[in-house]
Symmetry: C2
Amino acid sequence: MAKSTTYLTNSKCKDCINYPNCIMSLLNNNEQNIASKYKTTNKYKKGQAIFNEGFTPYSFYCILKGNVKLSRIGGEKIQILRFAKSGDIIGYRSLIADENYSTTAIAISDTTVCSLPKNIFLDELIYNSELSLKMLKQFAVELKQADELIINLTQKAGVKRIAETLIKIKDFYGQNDKTNALNISFSRNEIASIACVSTESCIRMLAELKKQGVINLVNREIQINDFPKLKIIANSK
Amino acid sequence: MAKSTTYLTNSKCKDCINYPNCIMSLLNNNEQNIASKYKTTNKYKKGQAIFNEGFTPYSFYCILKGNVKLSRIGGEKIQILRFAKSGDIIGYRSLIADENYSTTAIAISDTTVCSLPKNIFLDELIYNSELSLKMLKQFAVELKQADELIINLTQKAGVKRIAETLIKIKDFYGQNDKTNALNISFSRNEIASIACVSTESCIRMLAELKKQGVINLVNREIQINDFPKLKIIANSK
DNA sequence: TAAAAAATATGATATAAATCATGTTGTTAA
DNA sequence: TTAACAACATGATTTATATCATATTTTTTA
């Protein structure tokens, strides 16, 4: 896979399209000056890795524009664990834990990412309590979500996990108002890796949901027809 | 289940048996004074809940002495997610996320817990950057562990998960030097809830490990004879 | 625009582990 | 010290879903 393209810019967070939603909007003027001085901006094509499991982290990443999946390998199979989109941050867990990356981040659409050197970010955490508190909250929510994923993946039947997965994608990335198609399209194999089923089972389960009239499958694209029913399926015993 | 017994003490963290290992050792003199003024100490019998999933949190908890399991219900089954012991803190996730408890904490041996009112703890987080940074690190490690649990529970075969569970208990709570028995004993049903298998399967798999000479089952007590082999089993494909 | 490759689809079979059933052992309480 | 109960144990059966096999469709590339 080709290397990402690097762009050097001096733009500040307060002028970013994600301001004030991005967590880095909490930097004060001085911190923003430092950040803009040291940050680089990189473009990743769909499918390119931003960082890889097992590698040493040197940077903190902000998604300027685009979408990312975070996954982890366990022997043979890949498990997709969570997602990120414009304005989200990635790669901070390893920096804060002072460990190598425990997940792999891959662009699921063409994605532009701002990178900040490790120590600049860690310094900001020390001196900006608003930032560190926001980070604490981010972790607290993520930890709950990880716990929920454990319960969902281990205690729900396959079709329910597929339903849950479609809900997750719709809630996070949205859907087309007219066609009801999911804004970000995943292959059957990817959906399987989110729901933790085999690709074949995933295909069968999607077919089952289609048969029940909950979704529509048009040219590999998934349209959610009956979102309430999808929720009922995902949450039923 | 009977209510916990409450004791009021004015002792400070710096005089605690867990000093300086407990994260609260990072409080400065003034903060320790405030903490000692507002904190209460409670004793929980084995099996008693310290807090329950779904309830609103009002306190931050430090385990003065004892052991705790953190679990979560998913429909029918209970999944044990992690453990805590003397010097560990619990209940902070919900406080920081400003959400109800997402897990239940139950004493797995007689346990004494210090409680600090929610706002005292949250204030300390704001003003003590050393504390908030340590909390960030705690979250970062816990999040990785949650991710690892996802992979282990969804991708490893039952026996391997049982082996993994025994390793986890041994590493976290230790084992008796002479008998090789685990320091904290769990019922078969609890081990099943950690490894995410049925109780019957858990029993069968323990029997299998015994047959292989890796462990010994004496009066419901589990002794680890061959730890290296247990690790090999847990990590083999 | 044909050929190759990748993704989707579907049927048949295998399998790990849950569930159900019943029995045994160990612990608690009358 | 026996009865009652809970925990542990083991066999038989069922079930969900993975795996294997083979098509079909769509996309990519030569």
